[in-house]
Symmetry: C2
Subunit: 195 residues, 2 copies
Amino acid sequence: MNETRDRILDVALDVLGENPDAGMGDIASAAGVVRRTVYGHFPSRLDLVRTLTERAVTEMTAVLTEINASGAEADATWVEFIARVWPVAHRYRVLLALRRGEYGEAIHGLLGPVDELLADLVERGQGGDVFAQHLPAGILSQLAYGLVFAIADSEASNGTRGARAATITSLLMLGVPEARAIALVGDRPTSAAVQ
Amino acid sequence: MNETRDRILDVALDVLGENPDAGMGDIASAAGVVRRTVYGHFPSRLDLVRTLTERAVTEMTAVLTEINASGAEADATWVEFIARVWPVAHRYRVLLALRRGEYGEAIHGLLGPVDELLADLVERGQGGDVFAQHLPAGILSQLAYGLVFAIADSEASNGTRGARAATITSLLMLGVPEARAIALVGDRPTSAAVQ
DNA sequence: ACTTCGTTGCACACTGGTGTGCAATCTACT
DNA sequence: AGTAGATTGCACACCAGTGTGCAACGAAGT
């Protein structure tokens, strides 16, 4: 029923992913629809972006709270999180870009819950001497998942290679020793399947 | 003689740093000058941005080639580089934002030499088993100095604290063990002066 | 006083994007 | 056939930013 609306949302994620400054017209034609139609579903550009963001936040918080409840060590939890989020990270990478710029304020607000969950996780890791403590949890968590999205963006994201690279790199940055990091990702069925 | 021109450049770095989408008008009034005057010095917005970038590239390549010639170990060289570049990193953080967006192509091209020098350094470190090898040198170097600028941006950059944090964090990400990383920055007179 | 040069203050044309209004059309369902 | 809802095709007003043209102004140096 809302098939057009959904298609617009999907396509918008792609188009904005390639160029965060793309206009409603670009999105419309990419969705095989006329500009006017897009405005029929989303009264303003901000509405579109906001909906997109809400979607992403919902998905991510769901994954995060679920994994967090498993009670595993912080670094293992982090690995699990990246593995689960990775398939959509590339699609949602636009959010990082959107956070600066016109709608920065709005996006930032919506992303709040995710930020909090991640900061809590990192703080837990720091408390257990699993993560490094040279930076406050709030900042370190931002940098770490910013890094993950940056890798997802950098076209080194071919297949599962990117996921492994992103996981290891972010773990290193969080202060996990290289040997432990490799052991952690090595444990994972996902990466075991690679080559 | 070119005192106005210089002031415009300085101020433009500030203004664009806070909002990469700021217009010529914003820059002009921030420089205490009329929009028309800015166009007198820089025929187009791109000219302004390009000049700014060239400035940054010149400074950075100078520092990098000088330090690189000292022949120290790759990780020590990296530490030295961050320490030397840090004072201006916050001012030049715009470049990272500017790299995406309208003039991305042009900026990216100008930044080429810096990218190469950094990639070479990281590659050298990887060859000597000083840096991790889970990612190609080109990408790893980009991520590492992107990280430095990100920290410079995140207002955790109060005083010399930020420099220390940025150095340690980037070293960790490059695969340097925490103990070694701390020893390296601990050696530096700059960070020794902190607290 | 005269000239030069940078600066100013308009006015202007142009572009590209946003958001709206409305009648016409198409499609699906009954 | 008839109706409802979504989609289309235009036209429009509007805004913000860019870049230009030109006459006037002001301070410096000669």
